[in-house]
């Protein structure tokens, strides 16, 4: 179904005249790309007016619904941190059963939002179960690489060596001692209808993946890199650039998984690098502008750690190249 369809392309001048289902007046930090993520997702949905959202606890949830205000113009529910996909399972089940009894007419589309705290860590079980049960929902994980909402603690998405308030930089430890989780691969291994990585800078690709994921029959997961200037410690206007560099350095390659053909494929921005490897930027270009990696450069340049970071990045990239090989 997903591959057979003519590829939807976001026509920006038309989309920009559409209603915003995620409105202004939300209280995310100035320059927080999570706002862009939510807006673009809503604009990419095939039927935003007929979509129900289940949102895990996190920055987006808190900032968009500070009582008595709400930035959502669709039915929206937050219950807890780790259970948004389970909530969605129940919503889908309710409509299915009630349609069966003639109490409802139409099945709405289901969208789940979470950050990396829920998507990588505390909510993995609920997401895994919901995907296994083949509920028809799109799960968008916006990954800002830390528990930003609670004050920048490390998560399973936090990069190795990054400073956070629970992976401090000191004499004994240079920030987070371990590598991040390959979360999109973990969800893709469940064989959902669709899975993908995305970057907020590559907005067309992201919106297309949202459309594909929602139109796919069955569970779909999108892992979108959405930088956080409070946690990454870059200048607030650089959010999109940080997300772009994550792709260009192949720390966050863009790919998608099609559940029908059970195949992985590289998305354009990463395919360009596969074809012309000289375009792959050194990881330092992504690390250096971020204050959370400051200790890798100052007061003394840590070549040992930079080399190790580059090695791990290359290893992951090679793995992605292998699995996406046609």
């Amino acid at each position: 179904m997903t591959t057979a369809k003519i590829k939807w392309r976001p026509k920006i001048k038309e989309i920009a005249r559409q209603e915003e289902y995620f409105t202004s007046g939300q209280r995310l930090c100035a320059g927080c790309p999570a706002g862009t993520v939510a807006r673009l997702v809503m604009h990419a949905l095939p039927r935003p007016e007929n979509t129900i959202i289940s949102n895990a606890t996190g920055c987006l949830e808190v900032a968009s619904t500070i009582y008595p205000f709400t930035a959502w113009r669709v039915p929206w529910m937050h219950s807890l941190f780790e259970n948004a996909p389970a909530n969605a399972s129940g919503i889908e089940a309710a409509y299915k059963a009630r349609i069966r009894r003639g109490l409802e007419k139409e099945m709405p589309d289901l969208l789940v939002f979470s950050g990396d705290g829920s998507g990588f860590d505390i909510g993995v079980q609920a997401a895994s179960g919901a995907i296994e049960r083949r509920h028809n929902f799109l799960y968008v994980i916006y990954d800002n690489g830390s528990y930003s909402n609670t004050g920048i603690q490390r998560s399973g998405a936090t990069p190795m060596y990054a400073w956070s308030t629970t992976s401090e930089v000191g004499k004994a430890e240079p920030g987070k001692p371990v590598w991040r989780k390959p979360i999109a691969l973990i969800y893709a291994a469940h064989n959902p209808a669709f899975a993908a990585t995305a970057s907020i800078y590559h907005w067309k690709d992201f919106m297309q993946k949202v459309r594909k994921g929602m139109e796919a029959e069955g569970p779909a997961v999108i892992h979108v890199k959405a930088p956080c200037h409070r946690s990454w410690r870059y200048k607030e206007e650089l959010g999109m650039q940080m997300s772009k560099l994550a792709v260009e350095t192949c720390y966050h390659p863009l790919w998608e998984y099609d559940g029908e053909t059970r195949s992985y494929s590289l998305s354009t921005a990463s395919k360009v690098i596969q074809k012309k490897p000289e375009r792959k930027k050194p990881i330092e270009e992504w690390l250096e502008p971020q204050g959370r990696f400051r200790h890798l450069f100052r007061p003394k340049r840590r070549d040992d750690l930079l080399k190790e970071f580059q090695r791990r990045t290359d290893e992951d990239w090679e793995h992605i190249l292998r699995i996406t090989k046609q």
Binding site: I52, L80, A86, G90, A93, A97, E104, Q125
Partner: protein, 409 residues
């Protein structure tokens, strides 16, 4: 007394609950198996496999997700049911608080089992009683028949326009869940009529009356962040809904009596021979049956003993309990739980507190026992009555008002 046509079946408490949920036309049943609740989910799986129900049966990966799926389903307008026990209830705990706070009328059957550790699968009420501040309505059953009757009533109470709160129905692990009893079931069509169709509660948002339901026609935001400026107000609304449940619990108990011929006191408490009693034991659940047996035997010997069974623990019937117990010389509260580090268990504290403002306060002693499924022999209750008589005669109270029974010294 049996009114109308009812089917007599030899089933256990778990099956009784499953039949009730089936007849309640549950839209969504999201469950995770745990002993001694398993027969409920297994029986329900049979109904699903045979196409006897329209229910979406969501076989989730944990109790946390079971209650979370129920919350999502109830928020989308479904009649919703789940069941669990002990560790499962503990894992659900976060969602249990949440479900009642956003007014989701879910029915949860609790097969009461001891908490770990040591791990134990048998009966006590520690875990369910620990849910007492979650803002749920809590109903305790004495036998399989009551488990059936109460489960059907629970849907009516939960979904009542004045209430809109979730309800827990407790049945003692193994003692009720796995013990075969004769249970009368209503005819399907009679049960269907009794439960009716769920209508989501109406709320007023921006001057418009709309259903509390995730529906694209009337988009609402459920579960925002409410801090010191509003959180307390939402909690007081919750408290008021619980207070409004009091007349509803009684009237549905009456309605059920007309339909089935079975009545559970006023829906809150059931008393046995309390009017002239010198000693009364207060308890919950299946233990009430054992105590009634003992009381009946002692009455036959001319001893003035009575029983007060608390069926509804939340909202707690303080006034009714005090009315009955005021003037009784000695009262023993037996709980199949304990509260380590407290003066007494939850039931003891409720009962004693209810009597505080009364002129003729009885002596109130507390007893813990039967933990981990330890068998509760009638002798224990005979001993309690004896102790209560002694207090009445001597006026002397033991050094500590609460003690353990049924253990080895």
């Amino acid at each position: 007394m049996v009114v109308g046509k009812q089917t007599l079946m030899g089933i256990n408490g778990d099956e009784a609950v499953a039949y009730a949920a089936k007849q309640a036309l549950v839209d969504v049943c999201a469950v995770y198996p745990i002993t001694p609740q398993t027969i409920i989910v297994e029986k329900y799986a049979e109904f699903v496999a045979e196409g006897e129900v329209h229910t979406e049966f969501v076989r989730v990966e944990s109790e946390h997700s079971a209650m979370s799926a129920c919350v999502g389903a109830a928020a989308a307008g479904a009649r919703t049911f789940t069941a669990s026990a002990a560790n499962g209830i503990e894992l659900m705990n976060e969602v249990i608080f949440l479900a009642s706070s956003i007014r989701m009328p879910i029915v949860l059957a609790v097969a009461d089992r001891s908490p770990s550790g040591p791990i134990n699968i048998h009966c006590d009420q520690t875990v369910s009683l620990a849910q007492r501040d979650t803002g749920w309505i809590m109903l305790y059953c004495e036998n399989a028949q009551e488990a059936y009757d109460t489960t059907l009533q629970a849907f009516r109470i939960a979904e009542h326009a004045d209430v809109q709160l979730p309800v827990m129905v407790m049945l003692d692990g193994f003692v009720l869940t796995h013990t075969l009893e004769n249970v009368y079931l209503l005819e399907d069509k009679v049960a269907h009529k009794f439960v009716g169709t769920r209508v989501p509660m109406e709320i007023e948002v921006g001057g418009q009356k709309i259903p509390l339901k995730l529906d694209p026609k009337t988009p609402i935001t459920i579960g925002p962040l409410a801090l010191f400026d509003y959180y307390l107000e939402t909690r007081i609304q919750h408290h008021e809904a619980m207070e409004r449940a009091r007349p509803v619990i009684s009237s549905i108990n009456d309605e059920w009596a007309k339909l089935s011929g079975r009545k559970y006191g006023d829906g809150f408490i059931q008393s046995f021979e309390v009017d002239d009693a010198d000693a009364v034991i207060v308890t919950t659940g299946s233990t009430a049956g054992t105590v009634r047996y003992v009381a009946r035997q002692l009455r036959a010997k001319g001893k003035k003993v009575g029983l007060l069974k608390v069926r509804t623990f939340r909202p707690f019937p303080s006034e009714k309990v005090a009315e009955i117990l005021e003037g009784v010389p000695a009262v023993g509260v037996f709980e199949r739980t304990h509260s380590i580090g407290s003066l007494g268990g939850p039931l003891f504290n409720e009962v004693r507190s209810a009597l505080y403002d009364r002129d003729k306060r009885p002596a109130v002693l507390g007893y813990y026992g039967g933990l981990g499924g330890r068998d509760l022999h009638p002798d224990y209750f005979e001993t309690i009555y004896k102790e209560l008589f002694k207090v009445k005669q001597t006026g002397e109270l033991p050094p500590r008002p609460v003690k353990y029974i049924s253990h080895r010294e």
